[in-house]
């Protein structure tokens, strides 16, 4: 039994591939817990970042700088009265939010946080994720129908139409990235002789980017970039966020598919929405932004050795610096906590908050110190970079919400079908052609580099 558990420690593949159910279960729990943590943090971050962009402060009372606000919100939602409309279709009404959450979390099985840090690595992992996220539309339609009121029904139909339309654009962008995995050349414009077989496995796609020493967003610049941008826009529409949030906007006529849901059921919808945001961001990161690779992963610098601390002769000084970044980030966060704790008002009623903020700073610093310990430091690099990229994407989501007005529904559909779809097709064709034609590559390279 113990062997079963410890035999995995030296493994370099995911538990799914190593056929180790125990560790697969552990990883599932970690991923589930992690995503839920991200959702809670995202709740706080959205309110604070939105507020700061709108020249106000956001939550400040519940915990220092509102850090305990998500907990308060969760408690409130759990204790709210559970209202079910009298005429609603009760089983489906109950089932719809459950479906949305299950579907949103299922996709995380194949998301690779590191080369061995996924629950499993299916060889059709990407297809699996796209398919599972499409199933989410069913949950929305069920919610709208079961509410038995024509406002939610209109909202859910609009929402499902929007999601289905943008999935096509997403699919085209994704296929063009998959095509790129089949190239053998390295660098931004390299093709190489012959082609490898492309892969749909999420880990395989990142490894292809590793092998080609370039993130696919920069591959055959600007082709990869255009594909990435298409996906980035389509993923915002998939998750019903601003500027594509007409189906759930309060100031429009129809209040959306979750009108009739209150309390815990509504919070499940929100959980599903944020989890879906993280999931599609993970797809984008894996396909175009190098997954768990750090920026400039192919630059290593001269080799350096520090006894007991740095004993990797195959890695260089640039790697050393980048291995210290996670700890650095946590020390920076700890510094923010201390700085803001010093700036807090000196009133006795604020004492608990000040103490809490100092404690948080100390905890962050402690984690940072832990991350400096070599065994830990070496293992968490991949996870850190992946999560950092997810954080950037989530911040972009919040930024869009603060800045953009909302698209009208027909304009939204127009963008999905008449703009993103043709451009996606064009990019796909171009990517395919590039693989077959070195001359085309030379031409593009010449255009882009002005030679």
């Amino acid at each position: 039994m113990l062997d079963y558990i410890t035999s995995y420690f030296r493994s370099t593949v995911t538990p799914g591939q190593a056929n180790n159910q125990f560790w697969a279960l552990v990883y599932i729990l970690i991923v589930f817990g992690g995503v839920s943590m991200i959702v809670m943090i995202m709740n706080w971050a959205e309110r604070k970042a939105l507020a700061h962009m709108q020249v106000r402060l956001g939550p400040m009372r519940v915990g220092p700088h509102g850090l305990l606000q998500p907990i308060a919100d969760a408690l409130k939602l759990f204790t709210k009265e559970d209202i079910m409309p009298a005429e609603a279709d009760k089983p489906i009404f109950w089932f719809a939010p459950v479906w949305v959450v299950v579907v949103a979390f299922t996709g995380f099985i194949v998301v690779p946080f590191g080369v061995a840090h996924a629950v499993t690595d299916m060889n059709i992992g990407l297809l699996f994720m796209l398919g599972v996220s499409s199933l989410g539309v069913l949950g929305i339609v069920m919610a709208g129908w079961a509410s038995n009121s024509h406002f939610p029904l209109m909202g859910s139909l609009r929402s499902s139409a929007q999601m289905v339309s943008y999935e096509i654009a997403m699919g085209l962008a994704v296929v063009s990235a998959v095509l790129m995995t089949g190239f053998l050349g390295t660098g931004m414009y390299g093709i190489g002789e012959g082609t490898a077989s492309g892969t749909l496995s999420m880990i395989g796609i990142v490894q292809a980017q590793q092998a080609q020493h370039v993130w696919f967003v920069f591959k055959f610049f600007p082709v990869g970039l255009v594909a990435f941008v298409i996906f980035a826009i389509a993923m915002v529409a998939e998750t019903n966020r601003t500027p594509f949030d007409l189906p759930e906007a309060e100031s429009e006529l129809v209040a959306g598919f979750h009108t009739e849901y209150s309390g815990l059921r509504w919070s499940l919808f929100m959980l599903g929405e944020y989890a879906a945001m993280v999931a599609v961001s993970s797809i984008a990161i894996t396909l175009w932004l190098g997954g768990w690779m750090r920026p400039f992963a192919s630059i290593h610098g001269p080799s350096i050795a520090i006894p007991f601390f740095w004993e990797h002769p195959e890695l260089g000084i640039v790697d050393l610096v980048s291995y210290l970044v996670p700890a650095g980030v946590l020390f920076l966060l700890a510094f923010f906590c201390f700085f803001n704790a010093l700036r807090m008002p000196k009133h006795p009623a604020m004492r608990p908050q000040v103490i809490g903020l100092w404690a948080l700073g100390v905890v962050m610093g402690g984690i940072g110190l832990v991350l400096l310990v070599p065994p830990v430091r070496d293992r968490i690099q991949d996870i850190f970079w992946f999560v950092a990229k997810i954080a950037v994407f989530l911040y972009l989501y919040i930024w869009y919400r603060a800045t953009f007005p909302r698209y009208r529904f027909d304009q939204l559909m127009r963008v999905g079908w008449k703009v993103l779809l043709p451009v996606g097709l064009g990019v796909l064709l171009l990517t395919g052609l590039i693989g077959l034609s070195p001359e085309l590559v030379t031409w593009i390279k010449g255009v882009m580099l002005w030679r």
Binding site: T242, P243, S251, R406, Y407, R408
Partner: protein, 383 residues
């Protein structure tokens, strides 16, 4: 409240008249709604997403202001006037005072006129700022609301220092103004002018060239110049349709002829043009305030008006260019201390009539945008 058994709005809702048989759906944007700017009920007849017709039900905020006027003296009625268009209460007060002064055949002294102009134009800026924030919010852009409200605070602080109230100011009296400018009034106003000019650029930066804003507002809520004149629409809505008419230039009052400003007009008469016109009007108002505050003449602030106002028998109609349009007061005096009839011609009431014409054939989401762009205040519509 609408009797559906009588002919009128519902009469062509399908042969048998039941909901299921008709291709059309009747949707109610009820009195309580986040974006109707007050208690306004709009009944929409929809064919899918397209609007076939609308009917506005108003009167939820009817307080009988005109009836009250007949039971108060002229001076006592002055504060009531602020409560109609509560966003631009200074303009309401100005119109009323001008009307009674015309009845009494007196003119406010120049110093009072300048103070009136400064406060009225500041109020125009504040009203347009509120309009911009709420209109952008309805269309989905959340941030301009906070920016405009933050800047509007400065104007409200000036009002509070001047007359003690922020919103319903009761700033003027019949014959002039009651309060002298307080110590530091000119400095405050000048500081405000310097403060707000770059902020107006900020609002424009967020919206004017934003592709989504353009898509949501260009071509939405079109009204041609002929239709606008036939429907009696005034104010920025009329100017956006291309008619260069502003009462401050056409029939100047309160020494507006001394100030140099332009009247912005639009070309197409759509929501985008109305947005541009109002933003340009904010800048022109700023220009007027800057000119006025530099040259306030010395002198009395109140004309020789009897303590108990008893105008001679007669009737007058005086109108001003309020931020929402032409605000007019028709006052009938019977020689007593109480007016015999005060009729307020509310710009929002007449502008709201044009909603049906502007929204036919548009989509449901545009109705919200058009209600916002008309800039109605229900207090004025219903009185």
């Amino acid at each position: 409240m609408t009797d559906t058994s009588k002919p009128g709005f519902y009469e062509d809702a399908g042969a048998t008249g039941t909901f299921l048989d008709a291709n059309e759906m009747v949707l109610n944007m009820g009195p309580q709604h986040p974006s109707t700017h007050g208690v306004l009920r709009v009944i929409l007849k929809l064919d899918g997403e397209k609007v076939l017709g609308t009917e506005c039900i108003i009167g939820y905020l009817h307080r009988g202001v005109e009836k009250i006027a007949e039971n108060r003296t002229y001076t006592m009625f002055n504060p009531y006037v602020d409560r109609m268009d509560y966003v631009a209460s200074v303009s309401n007060g100005l119109g009323y005072c001008l009307a009674i002064e015309k009845l009494l055949n007196v003119e406010a002294p120049p110093r009072a006129c300048y103070i009136r102009v400064i406060l009225t134009e500041l109020n125009r800026i504040a009203s347009h700022q509120l309009w911009l924030g709420t209109h952008a919010l309805d269309i989905g852009a959340m941030t301009p609301l906070f920016y405009t409200f933050r800047d509007r605070e400065e104007i409200l602080k000036i009002f509070e220092k001047y007359c003690g109230a922020r919103l319903t100011t009761h700033a003027f009296r019949i014959g002039g103004t009651q309060y002298e400018t307080y110590e530091g009034f000119e400095q405050d106003v000048k500081k405000f002018c310097k403060f707000v000019a770059p902020k107006m650029d900020e609002y424009e930066e967020l919206l004017t060239t934003n592709r989504i804003w353009l898509q949501r507002t260009k071509g939405v809520g079109l009204i041609s110049a002929e239709d606008a004149i036939a429907m009696g629409v005034t104010g920025p809505v009329l100017r956006a349709s291309g008619v260069k008419w502003d009462l401050r230039k056409a029939q100047p009052y309160s020494l507006y002829e001394k100030f140099d400003f332009e009247v912005p007009i639009g070309i197409n008469g759509d929501t985008y043009d109305r947005y541009l016109v109002r933003v340009a009007e904010m800048r022109q108002s700023l220009r007027i305030v800057e000119q006025a505050v530099d040259s306030i003449p010395e002198g009395p602030i109140m004309a020789k008006v009897p303590k108990v106002i008893k105008p001679p028998v007669g009737e007058v109609y005086v109108s001003i260019e309020a931020p929402k349009g032409e605000l007019g007061y028709f006052v009938v005096s019977d020689g007593s201390t109480q007016p015999y009839r005060v009729r307020v011609r509310p710009p929002s009431f007449v502008n709201l009539q044009a909603l049906d014409k502007m929204v036919r054939g548009a989509l449901v989401a545009d109705v919200v945008a058009v209600i916002g762009t008309l800039d109605i205040v229900l207090g004025e519509v219903d009185r």
